[in-house]
């Protein structure tokens, strides 16, 4: 991997990653170890959140194709090493959330994936990409389910900020896609 060529994108667009009956198994321990490290890395790398959420769906039965997807993430990281998060003063204390969802992105069970990220005082603080646990029957339903996760996170942030003495003065805004 040290000599690998960096790639621009983390994951192939419209990838068909899934668990297939005729898939070629890969070294499971190695796969789980690599993905485990990527999950920890995603604590300071919001850019890899979606790709890591995809490859972590195959931890129990990883194939050569899944391993190729992991290697692609590593190649991307090679081209963008050492990145992180900056926290600075923007002169306000606004709390904002953003959500989005795909629809039936998972080929096996037709479940959607949604994501959110939140800003406190202009700084990115939390984010998540997760396959939904119910099959949404419309894209609107998928978006709504995604918004629920975003709202839950905002409400948790409000509780936390209030506890440490920074209760949001203005309403928290949630931006969504429809």
């Amino acid at each position: 991997m040290l000599e690998c060529k960096p790639v621009e994108s983390l994951i192939v667009q419209n990838h068909h990653l899934a668990i297939y009956p005729d898939q070629v198994p890969t070294n499971k321990e190695r796969y789980q170890r690599l993905v485990g490290r990527l999950i920890y890395l995603s604590h300071t790398r919001p850019d890899i959140a979606y790709a890591v959420s995809v490859v972590s769906q195959f931890m129990h039965a990883p194939s050569e194709d899944h391993m190729t997807a992991v290697m692609r993430i590593l190649s991307y990281l090679k081209g963008a090493p050492g990145k992180g998060l900056t926290f600075k003063r923007y002169g306000h204390m606004e709390v904002k959330g953003f959500t989005d969802a795909d629809w039936a992105g998972n080929l096996t069970d037709r479940r959607s994936t949604s994501g959110y990220f939140t800003f406190v005082a202009g700084n990115l603080v939390t984010w998540r990409s997760k396959k939904q646990n119910v099959t949404a029957r419309s894209s609107a339903e998928a978006e709504y389910r995604g918004m629920v996760h975003g709202i839950c996170e905002l409400l948790w942030l409000r509780t936390l900020l209030t506890e440490v003495g920074f209760e949001p003065k203005e309403p928290m805004l949630l931006y969504c896609d429809n």
């Binding site: 300071t44 990145k83 992180g84 506890e163």
Partner: protein
């Protein structure tokens, strides 16, 4: 912790909070690593002294690394990376 005026956070059970005279002191714990922060310098000192009478502790100074995450302070802000 309760005896010296801290309460456990509801939003995060590993967070202990003390608010006194418009100032706040926070203690966050992960197994055997902890961060003490806040805007009450005297209270931070008191907390450190109190904890070190109960536990063997080492003060590693300003936050540089926590659970494998590097914390860098620059003129542009605080930078987190791994």
């Amino acid at each position: 912790m309760k005896r010296i005026g801290y309460h456990q956070g509801n939003s995060d059970h590993t967070l202990f909070i003390k608010r006194k005279n418009e100032r706040v002191t926070l203690l966050i714990i992960y197994v055997n690593d902890m961060i003490v922060t806040g805007d009450d310098v005297d209270e931070i000192k008191r907390l450190q002294e109190c904890l070190s009478t109960k536990f063997e502790m080492k003060d590693l100074g300003g936050l540089k690394y926590f659970l494998g995450i590097e914390v860098a302070r620059t003129k542009n802000g605080i930078y987190l990376s791994q």
